[in-house]
Every structure is written in structure tokens, then in C-alpha cells.
């Protein structure tokens, strides 16, 4: 674990509730399109609007994807799960109950490992499937906050979007670990293709349950729930701010109230949400309109067997292959980059060299051009051809960078073609290098004299001159060997 948050004898106790919007074609309980960003109230039907007599029918694919996520997170999958009604009145909830799951969720307990030298594990309580709420557009209010007196307009497009809520035990001990855990969990869900997990668009949302307790204590303090942290940075900052606030209260001898807090990223402050509302009484009961969902062991085994390589396993594999932890982590959590790497390594036969290229030139180009790995004009095939020219000594590193830039600029170009057209092949061979050395030594008699007089460092200058003479194409290693031999003869 990275350094736990500990201040003045208190430690942090953090649990997360993560909502993942599943990227099914249709909604959770009706066949309306599950689309983000359409015109308000155009992806709605009798079910979405909770018209009298409308009934939910559960989406098989949402159930399947939820189970895949559960399997990927190491959760037990019970044989039977059921939906329940969670009742609350609010304009974003058209039935005034949310179809959710209560005591029989689709995915049960699990353990998720954040790998690495300072890795840690987080116990998962459960993952359950539910439906998202509608969106309130607050007239006159700022930034979606619930305030102002102008009222709101409700858009039911989002209502019924399949939502998987993943709940952890309070096993996280620092804001940074919360971010690390969420990063890896997000990568896992993306890797299996269940969601885009785009925090800005709200397809991944994290709430944090935060408390502090004296170091060494096994009891939990009063927790607060932090909502609306729509980026990894805000999650870390919000939890940090709340820990500090709670510490301040405790040290001032004040009580911590169990409440829901809203993090405002523009001010970095926390404000109490719905504090005036009485404690919730959700009056859960089994949803009579839906029958229990059953899982058979055979189908579960098939689903588990067909999961792609998951980020944690990938991290382990890349680390064992000798990549440094930071590199392995980046590649493990970026499925696109990792797939590119694996393709490239297969073609080049050397994972480390491939990783250097992916982490270096490729990533710089992807960032600069705002592309994903799969979108890059430099396919693994083209890059492998380039790497082969470096490995076999045809070109040196300097030339290779130029070739890479040429491959980006011209999707039709080949590495070999660029090398030929631009005459980038290394000047190797004793004859060709000998000519250059002769010319350089002849032009710099003073330096030659100095070297021979014992000023060894002058050789660097002479190598540079030779390299310049070669147009940067000289094989630096061979050059230095030859030069030394000539000077000492």
C-alpha cells in the first residue's frame, strides 16, 4: 500500500460505491435506445415515463455483462438473484421507486487486488444491477446544483439506463489508494467491454464513504458519503478534503454527522446535501413484476472462460517480463495500448524493445494527435518493420525517430522505403567510416595532439565531428571503436 493517510494519530477508512452505466443497445427494462446526448425526452416510452400499466422486462445482455464484470472482479455469482423496489419520491424517479436489488444481488462478495510493490487488496461487498434516474435540468440554478426557485425540467432519456453498482468494504486507507483502486477497476470494466466508464459523461460515477478512526482501532467512526466526484482528481481531492474536515472536527471536540456531502471542484469545498430531509426509509420489497434471475454453473464457467486478459493479470505478466512497474501499470490499464504492445511484441519478438517504443514514440504521437492506439496510422506491422531495421543495425536511433515521424505523416510509407529515400542507412563498415575519420583527423590536428597527450575526453568532440560528417548516420559504436584504434596507432 502506498503511504496510508495518517494524521495526528488518526487513519483514513474509505469505501467506494461505484456506478457503471452498461453500454447495452437498449435500456434496462424497456427497449428504448440506451444513448447518451440525444434530444431531451426522445428515448422514452410508457415504461420510461412510468405510465399506468407499463411493466419492466429485464435486459438479458445487461444481466450477462453484469455477471461478466462480477467474474472479472472476483465476485461470487449466486445461483439466484432478484430485483427489489427501492422507494423514494423525487422527480427523477418516475415510478417513485427504483428497480434495484436488495438482499439477493447478481454478484456477491469478491476480492480485488491492486498489484505492485506497494499493492493492496480491497474486499468487494457486492455488485447489483439497477436502473439509472432521469436528469433534472434546473432552470436558473448553476451547474446542475439543486437550488434556485425557478423549478426544473425533467428529461427522461437517461432513466432506465442499466447501472451496475459495485460496493466495496471500507478497506482503502488513503485518497491516493482510492484513485489507484478506481483506476484499475475502471480498466477492468473497460477491458471486458461492459462500459466506456467515461467519468465526464457520467458513465462511471463514484461515491466515497469516508471516516477516520484512531490508528489501531478496529471500530469504524461515523462516515459521511461524498457524491459527485466526476474525475479521478476530484475523487482524490474530495476525499482528502473530507478527511481533513473530519480531523478538524474531532480535534475541536465536535461531532461528525452522518450526512451526504457534495464536492464542489471549483472551490474544493464540501457542502451538505439533502440534510434537511428525514432519514431515508426505502421500504424495499421484492419486485413483483420481475421473476428471479437464475445462473447455472455451466454458463458461468463459459462466461468466465471467455473473459479477455484482465488488467491485473496483464500487469503481472508485464512485470514478470521485466517491465518496470510504472510502465507495466500504464500498459495494464490501457487495453488499447496493451493490445498494440502485444501485437508489436509478437512481431518483433522482444517485449521490452516493443514496450520502449510504445511508451516512447508511439504514446507521444498518440497524445499529440489525440488518437487511440488502434487509430494510429503506424500499425504494429509498420512499426515492427522499423524496429527490425534498428535491431539489425541498418539504422540508428536518431534515424529511427525520423523514420517514425515519416510513417506518421505518410500512411503509405514503409520504414525501408523512408530509409532508402532519405538515405538514412547507418554508415557502418570500416572503409566508409575510415574515410570520414581520416578527413576529421586531418581537419583537427590540435585535438588529435591533445588526445594523444592524455586528454581522453577530446574523443567525444571527435566522435561528434565524425557523426556530423556522416549526416548523423554513422554507427556510433563502431565509430568510437575505429576512432580509438586509429588514435592509438
Amino acid at each position: 500500500m502506498s503511504a496510508p493517510w495518517q494524521r495526528d494519530g488518526y487513519e483514513a477508512v474509505i469505501g467506494l460505491e461505484i456506478h457503471v452505466q452498461l453500454n447495452t443497445a437498449s435500456k434496462m427494462f424497456c427497449s428504448c435506445p440506451n444513448n447518451f446526448g440525444d434530444e431531451p425526452n426522445t428515448n422514452v416510452c410508457m415504461v420510461c415515463l412510468a405510465h399506468p400499466g407499463a411493466l419492466p422486462v429485464a435486459n438479458a445482455e445487461a444481466v450477462r455483462q453484469s455477471v461478466r464484470v462480477g467474474l472479472a472482479l472476483g465476485c461470487q455469482i449466486p445461483d439466484v438473484s432478484e430485483f427489489s423496489r427501492k422507494q423514494y419520491f423525487y422527480p427523477d424517479s418516475p415510478k417513485a421507486y427504483q428497480i434495484s436489488q436488495y438482499d439477493q444481488p447478481l454478484c456477491g462478495e469478491g476480492i480485488f487486488r491492486v498489484p505492485g510493490a506497494d499493492g493492496f487488496t480491497v474486499r468487494l461487498t457486492r455488485a447489483h444491477l439497477e436502473e439509472d434516474a432521469a436528469k433534472m435540468i434546473h432552470a436558473g440554478g448553476e451547474g446542475g446544483r439543486i437550488s434556485g426557485s425557478a423549478g426544473s425540467v425533467v428529461d427522461f432519456n437517461r432513466v432506465g439506463t442499466p447501472l451496475l453498482e459495485i460496493v466495496t468494504e471500507p478497506d482503502i486507507r488513503s485518497p491516493e489508494d482510492a484513485r489507484r483502486f478506481l483506476t484499475l477497476l475502471r480498466a477492468t470494466v473497460i477491458a471486458i467491454g461492459a462500459s466506456e466508464c467515461d467519468m465526464e459523461k457520467g458513465s462511471l460515477r463514484a461515491d466515497a464513504n469516508v471516516s477516520i478512526r484512531p490508528i489501531g482501532s478496529t471500530e469504524y467512526g461515523t462516515k459521511t458519503e461524498l457524491k459527485n466526484m466526476n474525475s479521478f482528481r476530484f475523487l482524490e481531492r474530495g476525499v482528502e478534503a473530507e478527511l481533513e474536515r473530519q480531523l478538524g472536527l474531532v480535534q475541536a471536540g465536535e461531532r461528525i454527522d452522518q450526512e451526504t456531502l457534495h464536492f464542489d471542484p471549483t472551490t474544493g469545498t464540501l457542502s451538505s446535501l439533502r440534510s434537511k430531509e428525514q432519514a431515508h426509509d426505502y421500504r424495499y420489497f421484492p419486485e413483483p413484476d420481475l421473476l428471479p434471475v437464475t445462473q447455472d454453473q455451466e454458463s458461468l464457467a463459459a462466461l468466465a472462460g471467455h473473459l479477455p486478459e484482465l488488467p491485473v493479470a496483464r500487469f503481472d505478466r508485464l512485470s514478470e517480463a521485466g517491465l518496470v512497474e510504472a510502465t507495466a501499470l500504464v500498459l495494464a490499464t490501457d487495453t488499447g495500448l496493451a493490445a498494440y504492445l502485444d501485437d508489436l511484441a509478437l512481431r518483433t519478438g522482444d517485449l521490452k524493445i516493443a514496450a520502449n517504443w510504445v511508451m516512447g514514440e508511439l504514446q507521444a504521437h498518440l497524445n499529440a494527435d489525440a488518437l487511440s492506439a488502434v487509430q494510429s496510422p503506424v500499425t504494429p506491422e509498420r512499426l515492427a518493420a522499423l524496429i527490425a531495421l534498428v535491431v539489425d543495425g541498418t539504422i540508428n536511433q536518431t534515424a529511427a525517430k525520423e523514420v517514425f515521424a515519416a510513417l506518421v505523416a505518410d500512411p503509405a510509407a514503409t520504414a525501408a522505403g523512408v530509409v532508402q529515400d532519405r538515405n538514412l542507412a547507418q554508415v557502418g563498415g570500416d572503409d566508409a567510416l575510415g574515410e570520414i575519420i581520416d578527413a576529421v583527423l586531418a581537419a583537427h590536428p590540435d585535438e588529435v595532439e591533445a588526445f594523444r597527450g592524455g586528454r581522453e575526453q577530446v574523443i567525444g568532440f571527435l566522435v561528434g565531428q565524425c557523426m556530423k560528417q556522416s549526416g548523423g548516420r554513422a554507427d556510433a559504436k563502431a565509430l568510437q571503436g575505429l576512432l580509438r584504434a586509429r588514435l592509438s596507432s
Binding site: 434530444e39 422514452v44 415515463l49 439466484v80 423549478g151 428529461d155
Partner: protein
């Protein structure tokens, strides 16, 4: 628990959960009626049946899931047709308030 008598405060609490704005006369009447109905309902409270599994669903499990096929939603004018206070593209509600 056969002698349950609902106080006015309890009636108001339940009414608040159900978002029923009751006047005092309704609170008084419902308190009486609920007390007598619950007295009857409580005849099952003492049955020694704690080990009996509750019926959680109306029928046995069936293959009741829906294939993930999207169909277009309603035309917006149909969606808004019954709205008591429609805006151009949505359903207006009063402020959330204090």
C-alpha cells in the same frame, strides 16, 4: 402485538412517507381505521411460522429476460401529451424547495 394503536404522529409519519397531504380530520379517521385493520392483520403476527419461507414471487422462475434489441422511443409530442405542465422538450416541476 395485537393492541397496536396508531398515534396521530405515526399516521402523519406514514402519510409523509407516502406523500399524502392529509388534513387533521383525515389523520384522525385514518388513525382509527388503520388501528382496527391492523388489529385484524395482527391475528397472523403470533403464528409460529418463522421457519416457513416467505413467498417472494408470484410464480416460479421462467425465462423472462428480454433480448437486447433497441427500438425507437415515442415521438416527443406523445411523451409530453399527458403532461400537466410541459415545456418545449420536457416535464416542468416546481422547485425542489427547502
Amino acid at each position: 402485538m395485537s393492541g397496536v394503536e396508531l398515534t396521530a404522529d405515526e399516521v402523519r409519519h406514514v402519510a409523509a412517507l407516502a406523500r399524502l397531504g392529509l388534513d387533521d380530520a383525515e389523520v384522525e379517521r385514518l388513525g382509527r381505521e388503520l388501528t382496527s385493520i391492523l388489529a385484524h392483520v395482527n391475528t397472523i403476527a403470533a403464528l409460529p411460522i418463522a421457519d416457513v419461507p416467505p413467498t417472494k414471487h408470484s410464480r416460479d422462475s421462467a425465462d423472462s429476460l428480454r433480448p437486447d434489441v433497441a427500438r425507437p422511443g415515442l415521438p416527443r409530442e406523445d411523451a409530453l401529451r399527458n403532461a400537466p405542465d410541459p415545456s418545449a422538450d420536457g416535464f416542468r416541476v416546481p422547485p425542489i424547495g427547502a
